[in-house]
């Protein structure tokens, strides 16, 4: 049942093969890159591959939204944060802080993949029920028309709830990223600027260095932000 014989035309097969290679290459690049910026760029590669596969499956609107929202907004946000935190440095991927973590993770993931494929082979996907949201092909309307009509009729309430979700997310992000106000009685007043330099001088970032431990024991030092 799974992996039915391939009767695709040459362009379709070529598109799928190239996109699959791009997607998997980008995904492997994300998890193996030593530099966070390179990981973000590999993520863009994967997102573009997925967008092309969306077009290949007649989901035109979602492909465009995928490019605009993911590659245009989310990855740029990632890059902003990478640059803002100043962590565009190499990370030692080779060292393994927890012994046996990687083999165990690989084993777990392979078991999960095998389980998903085994379930897919034995599944009966078509339930015979009519589509609640509407058909993709009825009336030969374009994809945007069908999708828009479904979003603004069947899923109108969910659509309006997403507006509230986005507003809450924006307010939450502003509250989280705001610097604490510096008052005269704030013991943290000058220390905010000194903290990173102090840790950087010791060649830093390794948890448990004396400098970082000292910063951690200052009143109100940790967890404020």
């Amino acid at each position: 049942m799974l992996v039915s014989t391939l009767h695709a035309t040459i362009p379709d097969a070529a598109t799928f093969s190239v996109c699959a290679a791009v997607i998997m290459g980008g995904a492997v690049g994300v998890i193996t890159a030593r530099n966070s910026v390179h990981a973000a760029l590999s993520l863009v590669m994967t997102l573009f591959g997925v967008a092309v596969l969306f077009i290949e499956q007649q989901a035109d609107f979602l492909a465009v939204v995928q490019i605009i929202v993911y590659a245009g907004a989310i990855v740029v946000l990632f890059l902003f944060v990478i640059m803002f935190l100043g962590v565009d440095r190499r990370e030692n991927v080779a060292e393994e802080p927890l012994r046996g973590q990687r083999p165990l993770a690989l084993l777990l993931v392979v078991i999960a993949l095998g389980g998903v494929i085994a379930l897919g082979v034995n599944a009966h996907w078509a339930t015979g029920r009519h589509a609640v949201a509407g058909s993709t092909t009825a009336g030969h309307h374009p994809n945007v028309y069908v999708l828009g009509r479904s979003v603004f009729t069947t899923y109108l309430f969910a659509f309006e709830a997403t507006a509230a979700l986005l507003v809450i997310a924006v307010v939450g992000a502003v509250v989280l990223a705001r610097r604490p106000r510096r008052g005269p009685a704030d013991p943290e007043a000058g220390e905010v600027d000194e903290g990173p330099d102090e840790a950087a001088e010791t060649g830093g970032g390794v948890a448990g260095t004396p400098a970082e431990a000292m910063v951690g024991t200052e009143p109100g030092g940790e967890g404020r932000g």
Binding site: L2, V3, L6, H7, A8, T9, D12, A13, M24, A27, V28, V30, I31, A33, S36, A39, A40, Q57, A59, F61, L62, V65, V69, I74, L77, F78, V81, L85, G86, V87, E91, R102, A105, V109, V110, L113, G120, W125, A131, A133, G134, S135, T136, L147, S150, V151, Y155, T162, L165, I168, A169, V170, G172, A173, V174, V192, A199, G205, A207, E212
Partner: protein, 101 residues
């Protein structure tokens, strides 16, 4: 005739697997976030594939909402990352051990 949907499903499962593996083995919080995005994309690809296979637009609507939720999640998550790691030099998840007993 286009590629059968099963191939897309296998590709999506592999993509999800790579994302889950990255989430398990990487220590950098930002890279862990990117791995979550990989898994969300795998789920989106599965939804679109089923939408095509079953001729139901509902799958694509769900992908639309997943995109919105992913955007909100990234905004709040990166806000938390900035708040936590503003005064640190590395964004390693191992540094977050204030609650360790």
């Amino acid at each position: 005739m286009s590629i059968p949907g099963e191939w897309y499903l296998i590709l999506a499962a592999a993509l999800f697997t790579v994302g889950a593996l990255g989430l398990l083995v990487r220590r950098n919080v930002l890279v862990m976030f990117m791995c979550i995005e990989l898994m969300l994309n795998a789920a989106n690809l599965t939804f679109v594939t089923f939408s095509r296979m079953l001729g139901d637009i509902g799958g694509q609507v769900i992908v639309f909402f997943v995109l919105v939720v992913a955007a909100a999640e990234v905004v709040v998550g990166l806000g938390i990352v900035v708040a936590i790691f503003r005064r640190r030099t590395q964004t390693s998840a191992d540094d977050l051990r204030q609650l360790k007993g």
